[in-house]
């Protein structure tokens, strides 16, 4: 039974990971392809990377995307933490069901609907609220609205796991609710805030549909540029861009995982030591 289970595991995982990763690997390999035809290998070359880095429009779009992603993530974490507190720490109040629906619906809402609706809202009510209907600010608003839900899920799950007696103990010792949040809750859930931030950052950086609705002429984002380029056909420059992005994400992921692994090992070692010298 065990052996069959093991070989089943390897079979399934083998196919699963092959399916997930082969396209990515192929993409990366062909970024080094000499020829322009991205499907025929004609020799190793890094010239596409050079072309990519000389493409001013691409670089400008990348910069816009990075800026937007940074501010989106930061705002989403703040809103998401507040929303997480409301969902996990507060008892029923009039309107909580509606709030819950507003927070969870964006998770599955088709992006075309989100993009269209926010644009139309900004066009109709923009002048009233002193908000532009297109441009970087508009993209920012749209992205924050999209990503808040995801961040809330991450932070809520961490808040739930948090032992309530920690917060009660802090109150018992004299700290009011606000102090409890900043001195106890926040430091303990900090890792969740980081993963929430990264999640929102990625979602914003990657969005093409919503950004297309609300972007203005001077606020082209990287995905918009990539999309219009890709519609015309294959381009090894895009492969090069893809490889760079994948490399960055992989390095960050490995680093993050290694840091967590080390932390876990250290904690385990400490607990062992404590058990030994039972003073």
């Amino acid at each position: 039974m065990k052996l069959r289970q093991r070989s089943l595991t390897w079979l399934v995982l083998g196919f699963g990971f092959a399916f997930l990763y082969l396209p990515i690997l192929i993409l990366m390999v062909y970024s080094f392809n000499e020829s322009r035809l991205a499907t025929v290998w004609s020799g190793f070359s890094v010239k596409w990377y050079g072309e990519l880095l000389r493409d001013q429009q691409m670089l400008a779009a990348a910069w816009v995307s990075l800026k937007i992603a940074f501010w989106t993530a930061s705002a989403a974490v703040v809103l998401g933490t507040l929303a997480g507190l409301v969902m996990t720490r507060m008892r029923r109040f009039p309107g909580k069901t509606l709030f819950g629906a507003l927070i969870t619906a964006p998770l599955v809402m088709p992006e075309v609907i989100i993009g269209l609706s926010i644009l139309l809202m900004l066009v109709s009510m923009g002048p009233l609220l002193h908000l532009p209907s297109k441009g970087v600010v508009a993209i920012l608003i749209a992205h924050i609205t999209l990503t808040v839900s995801f961040v809330t899920v991450v932070i809520s799950s961490r808040l739930q796991e948090l032992d309530k007696s920690l917060e009660e103990a802090a109150m018992d010792l004299g700290a009011n609710r606000i102090k409890v949040f900043f001195l106890i809750t926040l430091p303990i859930i900090a890792p969740a805030l980081v993963s929430g931030w990264l999640l929102a950052f990625t979602l914003s950086l990657d969005d093409v549909v919503i950004a297309s609705f609300v972007a203005g002429p001077s606020s082209t984002t990287l995905p918009i540029k990539v999309f219009s380029s890709v519609r015309l056909g294959l381009s090894p420059k895009i492969n090069a861009l893809a490889t760079l992005m994948i490399a960055v994400v992989s390095v960050a992921a490995v680093m993050g995982w290694w840091l967590m692994y080390r932390e876990e090992k250290r904690k385990q070692r400490d607990m062992q030591l404590a058990l030994q010298d039972n003073g």
Binding site: Q5, T9, V12, L13, G16, F19, P23, I24, I26, L27, Y30, T39, L79, G80, L82, V86, M87, M90, F93, G95, T97, G100, A101, L102, I103, T104, A105, L107, V108, M109, P110, E111, V112, I113, L116, S117, L120, M121, V123, S124, A142, I144, T145, V153, R177, L205, D206, V208, S212, F213, P223, F227, L234, I238, A242, M245, I246, V249, S250, W257
Partner: protein
Amino acid sequence: MKLRDLLKKTLPGSRWGVISVPYLWQLLFFAIPFLIVLKISFSKLAIAMPPYTPILEYVDEALTLKLNLGNYAALVTDSQYVQAYLSSIKIAAISTLLALLIGYPIAYVIARMPPSSRNIAMMLVVLPSWTSFLIRIYAWIGILKNNGLLNNFLMKLGIIDAPLQILYTPMAAYIGIVYAYLPFMVLPLYTNLVKHDQRLLEAAYDLGAKPWKAFFTITLPLSRAGIIAGCMLVMIPAVGEFVIPELLGGPDTLMIGRVLWNEFFNNRDWPAASAVAIVMLILLMIPILIFNRVQQRELEGRLT
């Protein structure tokens, strides 16, 4: 009881601030936009900025509400639209099923692994979704082309003589949706399966059940919540997908997301696009509400 007293009773002190900030944001930028889309769906295309007619008119001291139902009429009568809606649902449903068939074994197998390797395996499953969605779809263009990698590979092996037309057909859209959304299917399935008590299965074996029987009578039913969550997470957004059918699908890959996009960007017909969106919302309303209820309980921490 005055509103203020009611509020004070239920929301003491600084709670008000914590609740109001995200609440107002979501109301303003998520809920109200839907109402505006609804409003505009009732107006007519106009050569103006903004390109639609107002529905509320004040003429001769009379306030008239002009609801143009033309957009909705077009949706119902024009077969193209109806086809697109049906096609979207069909494509989303089939893709969801495929994703389930592929994702379930993966989640199952990982859930059975020892805890240390489990985490690494799940990280590897989720990692691709941290890279750009757009770029991963782009990768499939090169693979599925007529002279792309897949066809070249199969022809070299002698399995086929002429290239298979996959790209720019609905088939490519299926592959694309499954590929892009697979992690969203595996994750909730895994979260559910990993909580299963192994001893239940052991008890079943002890009582004489063969592995397959035990799986169908015990594991599968217990994982129902995970299956539903995964299917919702894939199917609902897939119905409204735009990028995948646009890049991978052909002219006969009718999806309602593309229709909306075309109405808005190509025809510049905002009212029509709005009507398309509203009908899409109505179609998805029930699954969305189901998902909302389950997800809210998850967030609050109550066990279903």
